[in-house]
Symmetry: C2
Subunit: 205 residues, 2 copies
């Protein structure tokens, strides 16, 4: 059974979707919730599910590198195989990404390459999509590379934009899809069914 | 009944989809097929459907502006209400776009803003999408502005990318969707059901 750690910076509904699916399907051990600060909803969800939560807040470290070095040591000590970014807003240094190459996935609330990259997170993504006037948005699970939202795409699903949508309404609709996709991708990853070659990702049946 | 002109540079399958839908639903008069050169498939399709075809080839004019001035005169003389770009590869000068403001629509074989803009046409769009590794592509009907593929979006539909896709296979799948969307958008436009405000487009029921 593969070990994972989930990184979250907010309420943790994407994290919860992985907890719930794993309780049903038992495809991994969630070794840690890594939180970017105290007091976020994701920590409460970890506690309820009996998952250890560790806080790695910028203010506790002299540099981002030091924070991620310490975090790497924790994850490697716990033999974590995969890292799942589920709303992680902290910048990740290339050294950390290199250390866990092809073992970090992220979920992004748009159809990459639309509305992604630096500055596109949370509601800002949906604000940008509505302001552009797209009729189809969606969600993307991708491997994490040094370029923000630039890694190989594992899975994408389209979500319609409807008349009268606000960023909040569109976010809610996209989140429903995220909560299906993310646990599915984590399961496929843990079951060794995701094959990556450069930017091309295939899912084995 | 509104008058339209369809502009095409190639085989004209998008053009054909408008001809076929209009034969069933009679939502417009197709006054002209405008072809960017002699000998393209779209001209044959126009002849078969009894639609006048006019060729506006660069080589016959001293400048692009002169070509489009002459084309404007033709279209205005024929009281053309809307222009439908159905695979039109010639650059359109801002003066022409201004003259027919909010009366030109284009179909593009991706989910704009992904894989669009200068250089993205025909198979190149699908090559770029496959090379990037997206799992969802699609098609977009949009109003034409001076910025290539930059106008307000009328309609978008998602099309899945499948394992083993080549640019040709993906193009074929997207074309099937284009042939549904384009006639529908032309019909909605001619029936006055498309409302545009800045970048926001709504379709009235």
């Amino acid at each position: 059974m593969k070990n994972i750690a989930v990184f979250a910076s907010g309420g943790g509904t994407d994290f919860q979707s992985v907890i719930d699916a794993n309780e049903r399907e038992k495809f991994c051990v969630i070794k840690y919730l890594i939180a970017s600060k105290e007091g976020i909803g994701a920590i409460e969800r970890a506690k309820k599910a009996g998952i250890p939560a560790a806080v790695f807040a910028k203010k506790d470290y002299s540099s981002l590198e030091e924070l991620y070095d310490s975090l790497s040591a924790l994850l490697e000590g716990a033999e974590v195989d995969y890292i799942v970014l589920a709303g992680w807003l902290k910048i990740i240094p290339p050294s950390f990404i290199a250390r866990f190459r092809d073992r970090i996935i992220n979920i992004h609330p748009s159809l990459i390459p639309a509305f992604c990259g630096a500055g596109y997170y949370g509601l800002k993504v949906h604000e940008a999509a509505l302001s552009y006037g797209v009729k189809v948005s969606g969600a993307t699970v991708h491997f994490v590379e040094a370029e923000v939202d630039g890694g190989a795409i594992v899975m994408q699903r389209a979500v319609p934009v409807l008349d009268g949508d606000t960023p909040e309404l569109l976010q809610k609709r996209v989140l429903e899809t995220e909560h299906e996709m993310l646990p599915l991708c984590v399961q496929l990853l843990c079951e060794g069914k995701i094959e990556k070659e450069g930017r091309q990702v295939r899912i084995r049946a």
